[in-house]
């Protein structure tokens, strides 16, 4: 692991100033991602600014929904989250292991880097890690890579579970940065790789996620996260689906469907939502939604199966949530 300096910040302002002042500075929250990235060489910061002491740990319910501090621990266990936002509780619980969940933070989770083998193994070229070196995944083993939103420069997928759930909940992140504060929808937090895969998010250097706001919506309470993986627990998603549903008198009034494990960011399946909205919520509609969810899929040589899995997983997730 490369040496770095360490700063422990006690206020948001200090933290933002410390990282903004130094191009090689990075935030350190729970450490479950950053420590690995530094050890394995995908990140080589000059300084880590530990934000573990910042007062961003609260989960609070208020008139405008649920506010989740960026450093709140085990959000999935919070009774209000479980009651009001089941999709988020399920997504959080499905991630990693109890040990990792004890220290991981929502902010860090949203900003974790891709699990693409070729990003993680620094011996391979990777445009995301080292711009201009090429994408080894395109011609390599790409079973775990993207079927949506990739480019000829990068086909990585974003590994977060809660990002998918938050996307389905119309959640936004609040940030503090050198240029002030702003609010960004979770879905728009991430950039598609295009020809600049190294720019993963819209955040400026030094911009810190301080909170996540989940607005009150009629669909949040009836929501569900479904995760398909190669092992019963403690594995990243091959395909995951977050659904949130507002059905009134048997007709879908509103719905959100977001996919994980298939794109460089949580992938909002708008065509699938459109296939449901205003129609009777029945098997036909769900099948149509599943079909529509695959619209625009561009599978790679080893991940064509994900297209069919998406279709089936969307149908299943919708059937599961129906009973709630």
């Amino acid at each position: 692991m490369k040496p770095f300096a360490y700063t422990r910040a006690h206020t948001v302002w200090d933290a933002v100033a410390a990282v903004s002042a130094e191009p090689g500075a990075r935030y350190l929250a729970g450490g479950t991602e950053m420590v690995n990235l530094v050890r394995e060489g995908q990140e080589s910061p000059d300084r880590l600014v530990d934000i573990g002491d910042l007062p961003l740990t609260e989960v609070r319910v208020h008139g405008r929904g649920v506010r989740i501090g960026a450093l709140a621990k085990r959000v999935h266990e919070h009774p209000e989250v479980r009651r009001r936002l089941p999709v988020l509780a399920e997504a959080g619980l499905s991630a990693a292991s109890p040990q990792v969940r004890n220290v991981a933070t929502p902010g860090g989770n949203l900003l974790q880097r891709t699990r693409c083998h070729y990003f993680r193994d620094v011996r391979f070229p990777c445009n995301r890690r080292e711009p201009g070196t090429g994408c080894a995944a395109l011609r390599g083993v790409n079973r775990n890579n993207a079927i949506f939103g990739g480019s000829e420069h990068c086909v990585a997928v974003h590994p977060s579970d809660i990002a998918v759930a938050l996307t389905a909940l119309d959640a936004v992140v609040h940030t503090h940065g050198p240029a002030g504060e702003r609010v960004i929808p979770v879905e728009e937090l991430y950039r598609l790789p295009g020809d600049e895969p190294n720019r993963e998010t819209v955040l400026d250097h030094g911009e810190l996620i301080v909170a996540i706001d989940v607005p009150p919506t009629p669909f949040a309470a009836r929501s569900h996260y479904l995760k398909l993986r190669d092992r019963a627990s403690f594995a990243f998603a091959l395909v995951s689906v977050a659904v949130a549903l507002d059905v009134r008198a048997g007709v879908t009034h509103d719905v959100r469907i977001a996919l994980g494990g298939v794109a460089p960011r949580p992938w909002r399946a708008r065509a699938a939502e459109d296939a449901l909205r205003g129609r009777r919520f029945d098997d036909d509609a769900r099948a149509a939604a599943g079909e529509a969810a695959t619209t625009g899929a561009k599978p790679l040589p080893h991940n064509e199966f994900k297209v069919e899995l998406v279709r089936r997983a969307v149908v299943r997730a919708l059937s599961e949530v129906e009973g709630r």
Binding site: A232, F236, R316, S319
Partner: protein
């Protein structure tokens, strides 16, 4: 004998914790308290304050010519003490278990990704790694050869070794080679590359000794075969290379070959300082051999009643860049290629090939795993073709004592295959998958909330496996045990000293149990395993309880004989005496004296070399011969729930019947069955080293998934004890058979649930959703 000036902190120590039981009981492990307290010292825990740390430069290419190596960057790194390459190897430049074909470090060419090219010793592990990064190697990259079949048969394939690309071809010919049958089923099967994935990565500490030799503390499976190879490569006599077994964090075959043994010793001798090397998890994936991936072509012919007429098979095992134990793996796959069945006519060919893939060698099950996946799949196909129950078709063909194997060997001890099948079939089935309120964790997808029962289909499958125990084909396989009996603080105490490696299986417990039973003493201590005593042979081939257990028993018998001679002389008695509860007991007169009294100040210290009955080589053209010491069997019934829409599998039950001849330690037997079954489960549904163009794509525990406790179903285990008259206590090797049968049982259950052919393992979701 010269010893180093001091031993490392946490050097292996004598085990003195008393145990309470004898043969047939399940005492607590004498090393167990240390293990639960975190005080048991593994090889990675060793420490000397003046030690250096070694690191290894490895090839990034699976096949390349080395044009030049520039070491200057490493030499110039502050804190670096030495940098060494092939040119610095003081003795033999090549090593290997069966063929000396692997260079200690690469010379002129690299044949696999991860091959060692240079080594560095520095005062800090990070410094050593950075120095390694500064070595500049210019490679001329060559097109790797990555297909075993092509390696053997393609005329335009590059020749990777001077003798060609074939490590071994073994044909088995028995009976009518042109037999025909009413019913014929064919299949092509594939088994992926599995990793042993022990939890404690390779590590060791080499300490230069005053006599110019080296003391090597190492986690290994066979101290003496390491010693022989290391001494040769160092150009030293064996007695100057002393090995001590340091705590072993699992083995499963991956510690049969050398990893850093020679490297650490070279660095220590060159620098005059102790050198420790610890592999990272990633490096471990490159630092040991794996289970051979296999391609198997099978044809079974049977009568309409379901009796096998012939079995034909062609098997290709990818040995990777160096031979390791490929030759013996080939022999197992071929000779056990029919499975535990009677087949009058057999035509089997098995090839083990060199390629530029990662080297493959020993892993629990050793060739029998790959064959069993194929032959058991074939038996299910045959059952389906005939409309027979899968158990019924197996029972009709089950081998038994007296069966003639495809090698011509007549089985001369119990082989209760039919009974085992019937017993596992009769075990109660788990309740049907619940359909309303229940624990999600009991369904495929587990906590992933994938289903409340929709799409879930239950399947049941059977698998049976056969394994040879001990080393085969005429190998002079022996184990040595030293037993010392003396009175310490008024109590007769036996010390057992062997070089056999405890790797978690419980060998130290078994050794103590045997000494207690044979000598009738309460107190037994276990000397650390080292090369100061003769070879204990390898902790592999399910052989240690048989071989080292046999040696300890023999040594105890010798000690007992001498003790009873002393007793007769001192007590002036004749006739039969025996030992019981620390007393000398006469058949006629009962208790005569305390053992401690009779022995007094005398010390009886005896060393015995013990052999199993001899075997013979296989005829190279027909594969005929009395090659195997013993056969062992396990049968599994797997019950799976498959979410057929989403491709998820949950193993609901994995019940097992195994014949162990005699359970020396019943708890340890059950532990081995749990462990073997779980590793078979891993191969069935998740474990595979993904290799593409010769490069490993998933060298981490994040990407190479092994079963967690949530993947492991409850197991009902039924242990049979049908004594083998040729073996000590009648015991049968235990560790491997359950690994062999669990994979085909689980895959059969998935097939039963899905109706799919599934010719390959591990089975992934896309293999079930049909969209692979």
């Amino acid at each position: 004998m010269s010893r180093p000036t001091k031993a490392p902190d946490k050097a292996p120590d004598r085990i003195t914790t008393p145990i309470t039981g004898g043969v047939g009981e399940s005492p607590l492990r004498p090393d167990g308290t240390l293990k639960v307290k975190g005080e048991f010292a593994y090889s990675s825990d060793l420490w000397m304050d003046d030690m250096l740390w070694g690191a290894t430069l490895r090839s990034p290419h699976p096949y390349a010519r080395i044009v030049s190596i520039d070491l200057s960057g490493a030499w110039q790194t502050p804190g670096v003490h030495t940098v060494m390459t092939y040119d610095d190897v003081p003795g033999e430049k090549l090593f290997g278990l069966e063929h000396t074909d692997q260079p200690v470090m690469a010379h002129e060419v690299v044949r696999y990704q991860g091959e060692a090219v240079a080594i560095v010793a520095a005062d800090h592990p990070e410094t050593a790694r950075r120095a390694v990064d500064k070595i500049v190697v210019e490679y001329e990259v060559l097109e790797p050869l990555t297909d075993a079949e092509e390696a053997v048969f393609a005329t335009d394939a590059p020749t990777l070794h001077p003798g060609g690309n074939l490590v071994r071809h073994l044909p088995i010919r028995r009976g009518d080679q042109h037999a025909t049958a009413d019913v014929v089923v064919r299949g092509e099967y594939e088994v992926g590359m599995q990793d042993q994935a022990f939890l404690g990565p390779e590590s060791g500490l080499a300490v230069p000794a005053e006599d110019g030799g080296v003391d090597l503390y190492i986690a290994t499976q066979w101290l003496h075969v390491d010693q022989k190879q290391v001494a040769k490569c160092l150009g030293l006599p064996n007695d100057k290379v002393r090995l001590m077994l340091a705590g072993v964090g699992g083995a499963f075959g991956a510690r049969e070959d050398l990893s850093m043994q020679v490297h650490a010793s070279m660095l220590a001798l060159r620098t005059g300082r102790p050198v420790k090397i610890v592999y990272s998890r990633e490096e471990s994936f490159f630092g040991h051999v794996h289970r051979h991936p296999a391609k198997l072509y099978y044809e079974h012919g049977a009568t309409r009643e379901g009796r096998l007429v012939y079995v034909k098979a062609r098997m290709f095992l990818d040995g990777g860049a160096y031979a390791s134990s490929t030759g013996a793996v080939v022999a197992n796959a071929a000779t056990l290629g029919v499975g535990p069945y009677e087949a009058p006519n057999v035509t089997i060919d098995c090839w083990g090939a060199y390629t530029n893939n990662p080297p493959c060698g020993a892993m629990r099950g050793f060739g029998a795993v790959q064959a069993a996946f194929a032959y058991e799949s074939q038996m299910d196909r045959l059952a389906a073709e005939l409309g027979l129950d899968p158990v019924e078709v197996r029972v009709r063909n089950a081998m038994a004592e007296g069966t003639t194997m495809p090698t011509g060997q007549v089985v001369d001890s119990a082989a209760p295959v039919a009974e085992m099948l019937r017993r596992v079939e009769a075990m109660p089935l788990p309740p049907a998958a619940p359909t309303d309120s229940y624990d999600l964790r009991e369904l495929p997808g587990g906590v992933s909330n994938t289903t409340h029962g929709e799409g879930v289909v239950r399947g049941i499958g059977y698998g049976i496996g056969i394994k040879n125990v001990c080393f085969s084909e005429g190998f002079d396989d022996f184990s040595t045990a030293r037993v010392r009996l003396e009175v310490i603080a008024g109590e007769p105490t036996a010390m057992v000293h062997t070089a056999a490696a405890e790797v978690g299986q419980g060998l130290v417990t078994v050794q103590a149990q045997i000494a207690r039973t044979e000598l009738g003493v309460e107190r037994v201590t276990i000397h650390p395993a080292d090369t100061q005593v003769g070879s204990g042979g390898s902790t592999s081939a399910s052989r240690q309880t048989y071989m080292t257990g046999g040696a300890v028993k023999a040594a105890c018998e010798k000690v007992r004989g001498l003790l009873l001679d002393i007793a007769r002389e001192r007590l002036h008695v004749e006739g039969q005496l025996h030992l019981d509860g620390g007393k000398i007991v006469s058949d006629r007169h009962g208790v005569l004296a305390d053992l401690a009294e009779v022995l007094g100040d005398e010390v009886i210290d005896e060393t015995v070399e013990w052999r199993h009955r001899p075997t013979e080589a296989l005829d190279p053209t027909t594969g005929q011969g009395f090659a195997h010491v013993q056969y062992a069997f396990a049968v599994h019934r797997a019950v799976v729930d498959v979410d057929v829409d989403l491709g998820l599998v949950r193993v609901v039950a994995l019940d097992c019947v195994q014949d162990v001849g005699k359970a020396i330690n019943p708890d340890a037997v059950v532990g081995q069955i749990h462990g073997g079954s779980a590793q078979g489960l891993g191969l069935a549904v998740m474990e595979e080293i993904q290799v593409r163009d010769g490069k490993i794509r998933n060298p981490s525990f994040t990407d190479y998934l092994i079963p967690t406790i949530l993947d492991m179903p409850p197991m009902k285990v039924d242990v049979l004890e049908l004594a083998d008259p040729h073996a000590p206590y009648g015991l049968r090797g235990v560790g491997e058979p359950p690994t062999i049968s669990s994979t085909p049982a689980i895959v059969a259950a998935i097939r039963a649930a899905t109706g799919l052919a599934i010719p390959r393992c591990p089975v992934r979701p896309e293999d079930i959703t049909g969209t692979a």
